[in-house]
Every structure is written in C-alpha cells, then in structure tokens.
C-alpha cells in the first residue's frame, strides 16, 4: 500500500475548507497543559552518504545468525527458513505496515491468511484458527480469558507451572485488574504437570497445560481432558514449539477446547526475540468466543470465490465493551510467513523435519550423558530436555559463548530455584552431528 504525504498546497486547501489559519489551530481544543511545547527531540536529517555510513556502523555490531550454534530453545527456536519465504514476503503486496483488510484491494492477503488459518487448524487438529495474535503469550492469555468469560460461575484459571514462564507472566498481567485469578499447578519429579494436584482445586473455568512443556517433556493430554470434563473446565492446550505437532498427536486429537501457542518455529526468524506469532484455535463451539480477526471464504455478486473478514460482530468497533478482545489487530506478515512455511513443507515435510529435531535431540542427550551430564527426568521429550550439569560447566558455557559463538543450554535456576545446576538443552535440524560431537568434546576439555 502506498504512503502519499500531503503537499503544502494540499494542506492549504484543506485548511481553507475547515476554516483554520494554520495546522496548529486544528489542535486548539486540546488544553494547553496537555500539549508539549518542546517538540520531539530527534537529531537533524543526514545526507544519504552520512546516513549510509551511520547504518553500516550500527549493522556491524550484529553478528550474522549463521555464525552461531544454538543448543537453546526455551520458546524461540533456530530452524531453517526456506528461501522462498524471504522472497515472497518481501513482495510489496505483502510487506506493508498496514494489513490490507479491505476485500476490494486485499484479496491476495486475505486468501493467504485464510490458507494460513486452514493449515494451522489442521496442524493442531482444531476446527477454527484466528488470523493470529501478537505472540504465543498473548494468544494464551486470550485463551484464558475465553474460559473465564464463557464459564457461568468460575473465576479461576489453573495454569501448569511448566507453561513458559513469560506466558504465565502475561496471563497474570491480563488478570491483575480483573476479579479473575490464576493459580499454578505444581510439577512432579518426572518433569510433568502434577495433574493430581487439580483434585483439590475448585472454581476452575479453564485448565492450561503446555506440551511439550517448558522442560521439553510431553504431557499427558488424555488425562488433562478427563480432568477438565470432570471439573467442567475448558481444556486449554499450549505450546512453544509448533513443529512438535509434525510428529506428536495434536491437542485437537485429545479433545482440547482451545489450543494457543507460539508459531515462531514456522519460518519466522528469531529477530532478538520478536515479533513472534500468536496461534489461537478453537472448536466450532468456541467460534463466537474467539477474539481477533477471522478471514472467511464467500462468494461475490457474480458467484465468484472471494475472501473477507468475518464474524466481525465479536469485535470492539461493533460490540464495544462486550467485544471478545480489545486487540483486534493481527501479526499479518508473520502469519503469511507461517502460511508459506506450512505450504512449503507440506504434511510429509513437516513430519520429516520434526523427526530430525527429535533424532538430533536424542543424539545430543546421549552425547552429553557420555561426558557426565545426567538427565533430570526420565520422560519422553521432543527437541528439548533438562540435564544436571557437571561442576564447572557454567564457566565453560560462558567461555564457549564468548569464544566460539556456541550457546550450550539455558540455566533453569532463575526460573525454578530448586533446579540448581540444571540446564535446558535443545537440538534442531540446524545442528549437525559434528556440532554435537564438538560440543561434547569442548564441555569436557
């Protein structure tokens, strides 16, 4: 979409019509004490030559991603990005600061998002996916709100303490000004959610469990479903590694009511931690309770296929205070990216990539075991797992990061104080056997 600035003449002729002397006079109705008189403190403009050298200087502080070896995930994963993705999303029709929602000019974007929704719904085994949210954490917080809004009496949502720590924080932030509250479900010695603890919990509108959980372990969704039914609470499944569902039975297959999580793994670069991609899906029953944008397929006046935003009556410009969310924007370009990624890999490709991730993670765990690391849990995982590390590992890890750009695991102690000397490791398809052998050698030397 083009950006057309107003010329001096444009402004003059508009002012003549509105009857204002200057542009400033337009803002006369704003009280003086609310206006700033100091202006905006930004430096003067630079010449093209000066600007270029300034930007080159800034860019030289970055180290290209490809020079790093990541053995960490924890919500942001290093995956290969097919070269079709940067090519397609750089096209001016897609790469715009504004998502062209108007059907008369945005059929390409709307069709792209519609296909994204379809593939996300298939990946997670659900009926409907929204056009996306800011990130996994906000999608999950919206899921918690759906359960609280739709439950007739309950005011509490139970969240596993193995849901990503940042996501739990976002839910807390959303709920702080409301009458609703979040309680945390403790974890077991196996590194899984202690579902037995739910027995004594009441007043539950929703129960939220992440799988693979923050430790990488696979949770027992079948049992979660049973407990949710017994407690009359919505089953909210979450995830941070969307690729895992290339291999694992998806949450929809277990009867989840809502599935919310992070889609960064689907072709989106890590970009210093964001923007991510919030995926939110529900069953047909939740259709009118979902927040945010939805793209639907329809027919035009001539009977031709077309795409439009649909079910807009849930949204704030129509429903006001009863809207299903006050964030009705979406991460359009990231959604498009994930859509292209899923279309590129296909059903078979995503399974193969997922299998590679799992195989490499197993090889990494075995290699670390051989050099004195001890698995913290004996529980099936996807591409992340927790290890108790030998003495002196912290120093070696920091040296590896500094000298060789190798990132060997994340210290879990800041998130789980009881897990001193425990690190969360990850292996994806971007890590080679040589990388793993090299790491195992380095951490023992």
């Amino acid at each position: 979409m083009r950006y057309l600035p107003h010329t001096k003449e444009d402004i003059e002729s508009m002012l003549q019509i509105t009857g204002h002397k200057t542009l400033e006079n337009l803002f006369d109705s704003i009280p003086q004490n609310l206006k700033t008189n100091t202006g905006i403190n930004i430096p003067d403009s630079l010449s093209e030559w000066d600007l270029n050298s300034h930007m080159i200087e800034l860019a030289s502080k970055n180290i290209p991603n490809k020079n790093y070896k990541y053995f960490i995930g924890a919500g942001s994963y290093d995956h290969y990005i097919p070269s079709i993705i940067p090519y397609l999303i750089s096209r001016s029709e897609f790469m715009t600061a504004y998502t062209p929602y108007q059907p008369e000019i945005g059929q390409g974007t709307l069709q792209g998002i519609y296909e994204f929704q379809t593939m996300v719904a298939q990946l997670l085994g659900m009926d409907i996916a929204t056009a996306s949210h800011y990130d996994g954490g906000t999608a999950l917080a919206e899921a918690a709100l759906i359960s609280l809004r739709t439950h007739k009496t309950a005011n509490t949502v139970a969240v596993s303490n193995l849901v990503h720590p940042s996501h739990r924080q976002i839910i807390q932030t959303y709920l702080r000004p409301t009458q609703f509250k979040m309680v945390q479900i403790p974890s077991t010695k196996d590194g899984k959610t202690d579902l037995k603890a739910l027995k004594s919990m009441d007043d539950l509108a929703g129960i939220c469990v992440q799988s693979p959980n923050f430790f990488g372990n696979i949770e027992d969704f079948k049992q979660v479903r049973q407990i949710c039914t017994d407690k009359n609470a919505l089953m909210i499944a979450s995830f941070t590694e969307a690729l895992s569902y290339g291999l694992l039975k998806n949450p929809g297959g277990f009867g989840a009511d809502i599935v919310a999580g992070e889609g960064q793994s689907l072709g989106i670069s890590k970009s210093f931690g964001g923007p991510g991609l919030g995926l939110l899906t529900g069953t047909q029953k939740q259709m009118r309770n979902l927040p945010g944008r939805l793209v639907g397929k329809t027919k035009d006046i001539n009977g031709k296929r077309g795409y439009v935003l649909t079910l807009a009556t849930r949204e704030q410009h129509i429903r006001r205070e009863k809207a299903t969310s006050n964030i009705c924007s979406n991460n359009g370009l990231c959604a498009m990216t994930a859509g292209i990624y899923l279309a590129t890999t296909g059903k078979i490709g995503i399974r193969k990539i997922a299998q590679l991730n799992h195989d490499k993670a197993i090889y990494l765990q075995n290699s670390l075991k051989e050099v004195g690391f001890i698995p913290a849990f004996n529980t099936p995982f996807f591409n992340e797992f927790v290890m108790k590390v030998p003495k002196g590992f912290k120093t070696k890890r920091n040296a590896l990061a500094k000298k060789q750009s190798i990132f060997a695991g994340i210290d879990l102690e800041p998130f789980y104080p009881e897990l001193k000397n425990h690190y969360l490791f990850c292996a994806t398809e971007t890590i080679s056997k040589e990388d793993i052998d090299h790491l195992a050698k380095e951490v023992t030397s």
Binding site: R288, I318, K322
Partner: protein, 132 residues
C-alpha cells in the same frame, strides 16, 4: 425499514421496552423478539440461547441475537426457569426475521413470580413508547 404503522404487533401478547414479546396465555410462557426488533436488526445470522434449566431474574440478559450489522442482548421480561429453547434457530436463525411470533420464538419459561406481569406493556402502551 418499516414505518411504525407497518409493524406487526399482535393484540393478544405483551411487550417490553427492550422490544421482546411475551405470550402469557399458556402455563409455559413463550418469549421472543418483536417485529420492530427483527426489522431494526436486519438479517439475523446467529441466536445465542441459554440452556434448559437455567434460571433468570426479571431484566437479566439471557442470550443475544446477532445480525449482519450488530449483536443485541436479549433480556428476560419476567423471572423464571427455562423449560424449552427453540433449537431450530441453531440451523435457521432467519426464522426470527421470517416469523418472529411463531416459528421464530426463542424460549419457553416457567415463571417464578406472576406479579411481575404488571410491568409488561400492551400493544397500545408499547406503540406509545416507540412514538416517544
């Protein structure tokens, strides 16, 4: 949209200021939205109804009617327990437009406080309210 004199407002039922209608002639009381409401809303695409067994107090919101341009809450004219809901509306919400007093009824209730009927409007009083 219809002029006030074009509205279909039967004499034998009562109305509320929120444009619901209520038929008190049988033991089970039937409730819906009236011709003015369906006409103002336009093409109705979804009706959200409570579950059988739910109880509501006079004036409570018991569901909503969604048209292509708006969602409107619907309020219960008198207190009572839901004994029946119009399940046909799930697949055919347009019945509310086509036949708001007959096939497009919303709920049947067992009233819990018959004295509340004094708050309801007859056709003349309702029309007077519409004319303002």
């Amino acid at each position: 949209m219809k002029e006030l004199n074009e509205l279909n407002l039967p004499e034998n039922i009562k109305y509320t200021k929120d444009h619901e209608w209520i038929d008190l002639s049988k033991d089970l009381v039937t409730i819906g939205i009236n011709d003015y409401a369906q006409d103002q809303l336009g093409e109705i695409v979804f009706v959200e109804l409570p579950e059988v067994g739910d109880t509501f107090s006079q004036g409570d919101e018991f569901g909503s009617v969604e048209s292509v341009k708006a969602v409107s809450e619907i309020y219960i004219p008198i207190s009572g327990e839901i004994t029946q809901i119009n399940e046909a509306l799930e697949d055919a919400p347009e019945l509310v437009n086509e036949s708001c007093y007959d096939k497009g009824w919303l709920i049947k209730i067992k009233p819990s406080d018959p004295s509340q009927t004094k708050d309801l409007l007859d056709k003349a009083a309702y029309l007077k309210m519409l004319k303002g």
